[in-house]
């Protein structure tokens, strides 16, 4: 399973591509690609958004579903999705129910 992530051009905020083709600020809203065709669809949308100067550093990342929630495989991406592991008041974890799973 993969999802598409990037950073927003204007402020660098970590974002994920949602099913309505908007860039969500939390990973929960990310659209999941379950096969090659799905990944290609995501990548095309990502390329278009980068071309359109909405986002930078677009990447497909591996995720698992854990208790019904999207959890990135790599620690790096789990930290991006939550915030610095030693400061719960910073990053996404400060505003949402996302907890740091590092």
């Amino acid at each position: 399973m993969k999802i598409l992530t990037a950073n927003r051009l204007t402020d660098g905020e970590a974002v994920w591509l949602a099913s309505d083709r908007s860039w969500a600020e939390t990973i929960d809203a990310a659209e999941i690609a379950r096969d090659k065709a799905g990944e290609e669809t995501l990548e095309r949308a990502g390329e278009a958004a980068a071309q359109n100067n909405e986002v930078v550093d677009v990447n497909l990342i591996d995720v698992d579903m854990v208790d019904g929630r999207i959890v990135p495989v790599r620690l790096r991406e789990r930290i991006r999705a939550a915030g610095p592991t030693f400061r719960a008041d910073l990053g996404k974890q400060a505003h949402s129910t996302i907890s740091n799973v590092a």
Partner: protein, 556 residues
């Protein structure tokens, strides 16, 4: 300290205008990310995990209270209320919006600061001894030379696209507190038999994936030849340094592959052609720059001795701090003070906006308006009357920055690591915090004595782990964090690169491993005066390996 002249002001102002225009064009979609990336990097703007990061230069780590207040203002207005002081004496902001960077640079320019050349393959911020101008063991203040190098290297047309980044450090003291031997060029100020000033020149030192100790290629370079000789080194490097492989592009690799003798020969040949050109420093120019760094007028304050004596009896916390964080000044009535940014369990190098403001207030009141940032990620007041030490201490207690741990095991250098950095493979800060909490007892720390512990979250070694008495390198192995330990590194006048002690440790084992190493040292040192590094040099790695891994071998 140095004050911008008309040229400096217009140069920085023009650069702010130029980059503001580039940002505006990027945000308007007129230039692509590929076009913009090298431009933003040249202005200190990186993209990290959560946001952009802005690295602001603090030339040779020196700033005044006005500048510190602007750093606080930026943290509060455009960031999340804090900044991170780095091992290159700079400050980094972890959350600025790209759209705000022009305004930040404008604020910085208002106090003669900028972010130029804090990234890119150019000559970076020149670093210096944080006790410059104050230390009792100093031959001369290294900062005038760092300033001359800064002026010469700023947008130097020949050296703005080097094979790789280039770092210069200068020290003017017997004891090297600027780690000059692990820089691309290290300059050690000294006097010759005739009493003339000059430099020992080291070249090709560095950390990163191929750590090397710099090679001395000149024992005494006359002061007037500083720029011609440096230019000669840069020319040889620019011509022959490798551009085919990023990992082999630093000058240390060139020195290693060419051989020190041959490289020195090439530099000397280039220097012979340059030394009588316009690069030769006119004495009056050097003296003019030097005048900017004239020490403050230190009036006699003999009452300090009695005041300190009385206060240390009354206040145990002050006595501890005095013993650990106060450094001998060349003037007997004064001292240099280390403000530890390493509170127990805190993030090494981080300071909040209000702490920065309080530091600025204290500096203005008690420290002749002079503040330094050390490469060990602490703040320094280089000149404080001993009579005012208690007042400074009380002020620091109020803002939670009076931790008495300078040079001890909890005075840890740590890079931002995987919690922020796009290059990192493992976290650094949480490891530092856990070790700090484990060794929280000051009594225990003092029993252990001087111990430099340095942590990097990847092989690029921003946390200087190679020169830690104990170094920790975070790597990623099979998707998990793993911490390798090196022992015996040192970044002073007896520079050495630490050796890997054995297989790495999982995040939940690393603090225990460090404790085992420390306990092994305590059990084997000749007496309390034998520092960890000296004991390691005497004993070698064997007893530490035995303590860390023997049980496991027996179990297997």
């Amino acid at each position: 300290m140095y004050r911008y002249d008309e040229f400096d002001h217009s140069f920085v102002k023009a650069r702010v205008a130029e980059f503001s225009d580039q940002v505006a064009r990027r945000l308007a979609g007129e230039i692509t990310e590929d076009q913009f990336k090298p431009l933003r990097l040249m202005n200190g703007v990186y993209l990290q995990l959560h946001a952009y990061m802005l690295r602001v230069a603090i030339p040779y780590g020196t700033l005044n209270s006005r500048q510190m207040r602007i750093l606080a203002h930026i943290a509060r207005t455009y960031d999340k209320g804090y900044g991170h002081f780095t091992t290159r004496q700079n400050i980094q902001y972890n959350w600025p919006a790209l759209a705000d960077v022009p305004a930040i640079l404008k604020d910085l320019a208002s106090v003669e600061m900028h972010a130029i050349q804090t990234s890119g393959n150019c000559i970076r911020n020149v670093t210096a001894d944080h006790f410059a101008g104050a230390a009792a063991d100093e031959v001369a203040d290294p900062r005038p030379y760092a300033e001359i190098l800064r002026q010469w290297s700023s947008v130097h047309p020949e050296f703005s696209f080097l094979p790789r980044k280039f770092k210069i450090a200068v020290t003017g003291a017997e004891r090297d507190r600027a780690a000059v031997q692990v820089h691309d060029i290290g300059l050690h100020l000294k006097k010759n038999a005739k009493g003339e000033l000059g430099f020992s020149v080291y070249v090709g030192g560095g950390l990163g994936r191929t750590p090397m100790v710099g090679k001395k290629i000149r024992d005494f370079l006359p002061e007037k030849d500083l720029l011609s000789y440096t230019t000669a080194i840069l020319r040889v490097y620019n011509l022959h340094g490798r551009r085919d492989n990023k990992y082999k592009a630093r000058i240390k690799i060139l020195v290693h592959e060419t051989g020190t003798e041959e490289l020195a020969r090439q530099v000397e040949a280039e220097f012979a052609a340059l030394k009588d050109t316009e690069l030769k420093l006119p004495d009056e120019d050097v003296r003019a720059i030097e005048a900017y760094f004239a020490p403050p007028a230190l009036v006699e304050r003999p009452e300090g001795e009695a005041a300190v004596k009385a206060a240390r009896v009354e206040n145990a916390g002050f006595a501890d701090w005095l013993g650990q964080n106060v450094f001998t000044h060349r003037h007997p009535d004064y001292a240099a003070v280390t403000i530890s940014l390493k509170g127990i369990g805190e993030v090494p190098g981080d300071a909040t906006d209000s702490q920065m403001e309080a530091i600025a207030d204290l500096a203005e009141k008690y420290a002749f308006d002079e503040i330094r940032i050390s490469h060990e990620q602490n703040v320094i007041f280089p000149h404080v009357a001993r009579a005012d030490l208690k007042a400074v201490y009380d002020g620091l207690v109020e803002i939670g920055l009076a931790t008495a741990n300078s040079g001890l095991v909890t005075d840890i250098i740590a890079c931002p690591g995987l919690d922020y950095c796009a290059l990192a493979n493992a976290r650094s800060i949480p490891v530092a915090q856990e070790i700090s909490n484990r060794f929280a007892s000051l009594e225990r720390q003092r029993e252990i004595g001087e111990l430099k512990l340095k942590i990097s979250g990847c092989i690029n070694a921003c946390g200087h782990h190679h020169v830690g008495h104990i170094g920790i390198l975070g790597v990623e192995k099979k998707g998990a964090e793993l911490y390798q330990v090196t022992l015996g590194g040192s970044g002073d006048e007896n520079t050495s690169i630490g050796e890997i002690v054995g297989r790495g440790f999982a995040p939940d084992q690393i603090t225990d491993a460090i404790e085992t190493i420390v306990d092994t040292y305590l059990g084997l040192r000749t007496d309390a005066s034998e520092r960890f590094i000296d004991a390691y040099r005497r004993l070698g790695p064997a007893p530490f390996k035995e303590a860390l891994y023997a049980g496991e071998a027996k179990a297997a």
